[in-house]
Subunit: 179 residues, 2 copies
């Protein structure tokens, strides 16, 4: 039986561009208290694993300020509003970042990226029946699009060369599903 | 060719218990600037997928303040110091949270949990040749240990019932590897 902890106080410490940061005071079953950090990512996000007709996967390469290096990821982005269906967000991000449109988008899995301190969620979709078009990026985005064999991507995960959590989860869940 | 963005300012906005929050000012190739949030999770973390001799997987159930609900996850926790080998952290968290010790811990994959705004990393290990022992938790921890068939866990991921990113990645990567 899990003993319930109780949050006895929540204090807003910082209101950022895409997130709010709180200091929570938690009380445990033994009566002790601790201060815990909580980050609220208000909007939530969607991601999409795009599968070309020949079976290769479209990936995006971009510079990530938080890691101070380039990463190889599946296309993804925040929802446009708190009520937007993540399937709509996924289709939009696919087209903006890669130029491709999909005639068949299906649910793959949902992620909570970092449950110890943050409520961010990412719904991940599979995009098939792709048609090429024009990339159209935000001012802040500069993204290269590359296609990889699924098996090559799996090997890059096992070698620690792809680490982005939504990307690792999507690649492995899709490979596991079609094996 | 990816155009490089430049960080022209970084300002500390909040120093928390396990993380620091910054406001970054970013400058893009077109000369425009934006303010971006950056969360530094100083310590990094380790997680472990424990496989019993009969092939079942040990999972931990606990209440997560950030999600305001219980989750089913693989054992995990922060490193004890900035220089601790994550393999050592993984072995310790396995024993603390489940009571089990492993005689065979091997590298599975590495994750960056949420690359858009945070530098947190989690190294994930596979633990085999397990021996049961006593759980010993921190004051703030209350954890139930349960064993599941691997295929059942995969189906729970595809049904959206397991969402923790390190757990989804570990289950799918292990299932994919042994198929």
């Amino acid at each position: 039986m899990i003993e319930k902890m109780e949050r006895i106080k929540r204090e807003l410490m910082y209101r950022g561009t895409i997130l709010d940061v709180y200091k929570d005071t938690m009380k445990f079953a033994n009566g002790k208290t601790e201060e815990w950090d909580f980050v609220s990512h208000r909007m939530g996000a969607a991601a999409v694993l795009p599968v070309l007709p020949d079976g290769r996967i479209l990936m995006v390469r971009q510079y990530r300020n938080a890691l101070e290096r380039e990463t190889l990821e599946i296309p993804a982005g925040c929802r446009d509003s708190l009520t937007e269906d993540t399937k709509v967000s996924a289709a939009r991000e696919l087209e903006e970042e890669t130029g491709y449109r999909s005639k068949k988008i299906s649910y793959l899995l949902s992620l909570r990226t970092t449950v110890a301190f943050c409520d961010e969620f990412v719904d991940v979709y599979l995009a098939e029946e792709l048609e090429a078009g024009e990339q159209h990026l935000d001012d802040s985005e500069s993204i290269d699009v590359e296609a990889f064999e699924l098996e090559e991507l799996c090997q890059m995960v096992y070698a620690g060369k792809i680490q982005d959590s939504k990307t690792v989860a999507a690649i492995m869940a899709y490979s596991n599903k079609i094996k």
